[in-house]
């Protein structure tokens, strides 16, 4: 195991931690909008950290750059799909949960 591979492990574990947090949020939060908070933010950063870890493990090559480009597209697509589905919920008249 060389230094680059050792360096990739913290990134991968950090990505896994944020995936875990997002999933627990998806299960525990009380209503749809708050669940979107979990998936919309958590998954984006988790994917970013995991992909950085994997490309560091790969070393310097075209494949590593491709893996980073996947992260760029995820950054465009993930918040947009969050926005789209929450907009549909708003237009359908879904009431947000309020603390009593």
């Amino acid at each position: 195991m060389n230094i680059m591979q050792a360096l990739s492990i913290p990134f991968l574990l950090g990505g896994f931690f944020f995936f875990l947090a997002a999933t627990v949020g998806l299960l525990r939060f009380p209503d749809f909008y708050t669940r979107l908070h979990a998936t919309g933010k958590g998954d984006t950063l988790a994917v970013l950290l995991s992909l950085i870890g994997l490309s560091v493990y790969e070393g310097f090559s075209f494949t590593a750059v491709k893996i980073l480009f996947i992260a760029v597209f995820m950054f465009l697509a993930q918040p947009t799909s969050t926005h789209a589905i929450s907009r549909a919920a708003m237009r359908c008249g879904l009431k947000p949960w309020v603390k009593k």
Partner: protein, 238 residues
């Protein structure tokens, strides 16, 4: 150390240059305004139609070449094979795609500003990344803490941004920053769902909006638009 000093001096020089340019623009603007008022209305309209047609074609050609080069860079990155055969295939397919969709990628962006835009974007990127990181820590804290201290509310605000690309940037960065997601946009009014009353007050300072306006040159927008018109007329007069 020396490098930072160098960068600082370069920045300062750039600022001075920009200031001088702004002054020159204002001067041009006032002079050309006087000149254009003396013209008859119909001649002006005809000239504008002709010029806008010419400008449209020019813009289309610029869009085409810029799209082509961007897609070709993406192709080389994807392909990873640098022999002649694959590069030829790449050129052919990039030509095809930029013929099919040249008006999609840079539809509402002024081409000349792209260099400055990239520079400002990379200058602002660390701030956004740190925001995203704190957002995730916040969500992780909320999700993993046993009591789950949330207090959701919906707030709305008007924005001063104009082009749709900067709207996209604003909406996506609101979604990615702590405790807020964009849920709807109606007539330039953003509806934001905040998970906490405290983070809702953070959004009111408008720091993010200012940053995005700086990155996408919304603040300089009006001057540049006028300068484009004015320089045209000015050249005609000369």
């Amino acid at each position: 150390m020396e490098v930072t000093v160098l960068i600082q001096t370069a920045d300062k020089a750039f600022e001075i240059l920009e200031k001088a340019r702004n002054e020159a623009r204002e001067l041009l603007y006032s002079s050309a305004k006087i000149a254009s008022e003396t013209k008859s209305l119909e001649a002006k309209r005809a000239e504008q139609a002709f010029l806008s047609g010419a400008q449209h074609t020019k813009l289309a050609i610029r869009n085409y070449t810029l799209t082509f080069f961007m897609l070709f860079a993406f192709w080389v990155l994807l392909s990873g094979r640098l022999d002649l055969f694959h590069l030829t295939l790449g050129v052919l397919s990039c030509l095809l795609i930029s013929y099919l969709s040249y008006d999609l990628l840079f539809a509402n962006v002024r081409i000349g500003d792209i260099r400055i835009m990239f520079k400002r974007f990379f200058a602002a990127a660390p701030w956004f990344l740190s925001q995203i990181f704190t957002a995730n820590l916040h969500v992780a804290y909320l999700a993993l803490s046993p009591k789950m201290p949330i207090d959701p509310s919906i707030l709305r605000f008007n924005t001063k941004l104009e082009s749709d690309i900067s709207w996209v940037a604003l909406a996506n960065s609101i979604t990615l920053t702590p405790g807020t997601i964009t849920i709807d946009i109606r007539d330039g009014e953003f509806f934001v769902h905040a998970i906490d009353k405290k983070v809702a007050s953070d959004l009111d300072t408008g720091e993010m909006e200012d940053k995005i306006a700086h990155v996408f040159m919304e603040a300089d927008h009006i001057y540049i638009q006028d300068i484009l018109d004015v320089s045209r007329i000015f050249g005609e007069l000369k």
